[in-house]
Amino acid sequence: MISNIYTFYRDGFRSMRVGKKLWAIIFIKLFIMFAVLKAFFFPNYLNTNFATDDERAGHVLVHITQSKKMGEHND
């Protein structure tokens, strides 16, 4: 059964024409997304800066109760 499934997928991938180029694009895209963008540019802000859920909840509560009003600028 498992052997049949393996053969099915292996033969399917081998017989691809346009598909090979598409798989290459998918892998390059996933690599850029996860190994570059996620790793270096998109940290999870709350998970990175706070250790526990209580701290995260506390931070968000402070933010929504003390945040500046719409239209207020720093300058």
Binding site: F8, Y9, D11, G12, F13, S15, M16, V18, G19, K21, L22, W23, I25, I26, K29, L30, I32, M33, L37, K38, F41, F42, P43, N44, Y45, L46, N47, D53, R56, A57, G58, V60, L61, V62, H63, I64, T65, Q66, S67, K68, K69, M70, G71, E72, H73, N74
Partner: protein, 511 residues
């Protein structure tokens, strides 16, 4: 940290999210619709045993595969942005969105790993009926996997089935079914998926028109147009009905959005629907300037659309911002006052809880519960902040409606010319057919602009404005990732168009 909130950073984060969502939405509607068209083509092949239909099926399946491969996982980038740019929002809605998005992820994985593989690899390896079943499962499954993200979006537009927990600062789900079957979710799902069917039909029609203009693959092109036009005509007609239902739902649940869609500032009875008009861009809520530089209205139809009743009152932006006592509409200023009370009691609750003062926390909680429904309004500075960008919403809505009215006529004409056996001689129509492909995409994007720009300033309607949902990052950080995405998406789009065009140029496999 909080003192450093910068609206330009919020707008860059908005732009980044819009860019990613709009790019993602280039692929999704085509996947939704083309999967069904491929299933129709294959069903005809299985029914007739005619090998030409198999060639047709395989050709469109290849284009479906290209679109799917380039588009796959682009939606995940939106989730990256939730965690980084929209961390407050992400935290607050985690309990509501977690389940639907997890279901979508698991569902999509199993669908893709099994039925996609059978569909693409299974020709000559599984029975004809099993292959057809797989193709249909991909079509049905694609639409079902869209349910969850559309439910999540609908909840932001009309938050139901939840309660805000002031201890955890999270909206917690109270009733899954209320979230799943909210009127906004139902109308959004039916309108969005059926519009995807229209886009795919236009895609098949447009490419087939190109073949006819070139005098290539004429039998395949005409057969493809026949199926796509029937499907497209049915879907486009259905889109008109679901659009009507969606507009009615907007009128009932998000009246400010409807007012912006129609450029209606001063509410009226027997309100007219704008057939054509140029918005006065200098107009602001509450001023005396005319809303339009030029407009043609169809009397009474907006009242009918909004309330299913001629002569009924449709509130305008001014009524919703400044209130209308006669019509029982509370002003934004009044709701801002209640919102500030909610925020103040929430702060008092937190302080009392931190100090372990049980009595004070209970008192603050009771007071918070009185005002909590207007919590988001407490973050606005001016009542007019509650109005979305009217011109953008208005033009996007009317572009969508005009194109949505044009498409059924195109499908009808295609069927007429096919019936008269003159389609390949109608060069002007064939050019129009090709032009309808980009027009279909424009209609799709315009629809989302209406949905998302029209609900500003809210991330969650009435409860959380966008600028509070945002993480306090530096503008430069968000700008950097914006341009990275712009570059990445442009490259991927060029890759798709090149591969797609090459495949179209090659045409179906030889017999």
């Amino acid at each position: 940290m909080i003192e450093q909130v910068d609206l330009s950073q919020v707008n860059w984060a908005r732009a980044q999210f819009a860019l990613t969502a709009m790019y993602h939405w280039i692929f999704v509607p085509l996947t939704l619709g083309l999967s069904f068209l491929v299933a129709f083509f294959e069903s005809i092949y299985v029914k007739t045993g005619n090998e030409e239909w198999k060639r047709i099926t395989k050709f469109w399946m290849t284009l479906f595969g290209i679109n799917f491969a380039i588009g796959v996982a682009t939606g995940i980038i939106l989730e990256f942005q939730f965690g980084t740019n929209w961390s407050n929002y992400s935290w607050m809605v985690g309990d509501i969105f977690g389940a639907p998005l997890a279901i979508e992820g698991i569902f999509a994985f199993f669908l893709e790993a099994t039925f996609f593989a059978l569909m693409f690899f299974g020709w000559d390896r599984v029975s004809v009926k099993m292959h057809l079943f797989s193709t249909w499962m991909v079509a049905v499954g694609s639409s079902l996997s869209a349910v969850w993200i559309l439910v999540a979006n609908s909840w932001m537009q009309f938050p139901v089935g939840m309660a805000f927990n002031p201890e955890t600062a999270r909206f917690e789900m109270q009733n899954f079914w209320e979230v799943l079957f909210s009127p906004v979710a139902v109308s959004k799902f039916s309108h969005t998926t059926s519009s995807g069917f229209v886009l795919a039909s236009l895609f098949v029609l447009g490419i087939s028109c190109w073949y006819l203009l070139k005098g290539r693959h004429q039998l395949m092109a005409k057969r493809s147009i026949a199926v796509a036009s029937v499907f497209g005509l049915l879907a486009a007609t259905y889109v008109i009905f679901t659009g009507d239902e969606a507009a009615y739902t907007v009128a009932q649940k998000q009246p400010m959005k409807l007012a912006a869609m129609e450029g209606l500032y001063v509410g009226e009875r027997n309100a007219g629907l704008v057939a054509a008009g140029i918005i006065n861009s200098a107009k602001n809520p509450g001023d005396e300037q005319p809303a339009f530089l030029f407009d043609v209205k169809l009397p009474g139809l907006l009242s009918l659309l909004a309330n299913r009743q001629f002569g009924s009152f449709v509130p305008g932006v001014d009524d919703l911002v400044y209130g209308n006592e006669e019509e029982g509409i509370v002003s934004v200023a009044s709701r801002m006052e209640r919102g500030r009370q909610a925020i103040a009691y929430l702060a008092a609750f937190k302080e009392a809880t931190d100090n372990e003062n049980e009595v004070a926390s209970q008192v603050a909680l009771q007071q918070f519960n009185i005002y909590k429904d207007d919590m988001g309004y407490g973050h606005l500075v001016s009542p007019s902040d509650a109005a979305p960008p009217v011109a953008t919403t208005y033009y996007a809505f009317h572009i969508m409606v005009i194109l949505g009215t044009l498409f059924p006529l195109v499908f009808l004409l295609a069927l007429y010319f096919l019936h008269k056996k003159t389609l390949e001689k109608q060069r002007l129509f064939l050019f129009v057919g090709i032009l309808c492909v980009p027009l279909g995409y424009i209609a799709q994007q315009a629809g989302w602009v209406v949905s998302e720009v029209g609900r500003q300033p809210w991330a969650i309607q009435g409860l959380l404005p966008v600028h509070v949902a945002n993480t306090n990052l530096t503008t430069g950080t968000v700008q950097t990732t914006f341009f990275i995405f712009l570059g990445l998406f442009t490259m991927l789009l060029i890759a798709e168009i090149k591969i797609m065009c090459k495949q179209i140029q090659l045409g179906p496999e030889e017999k």
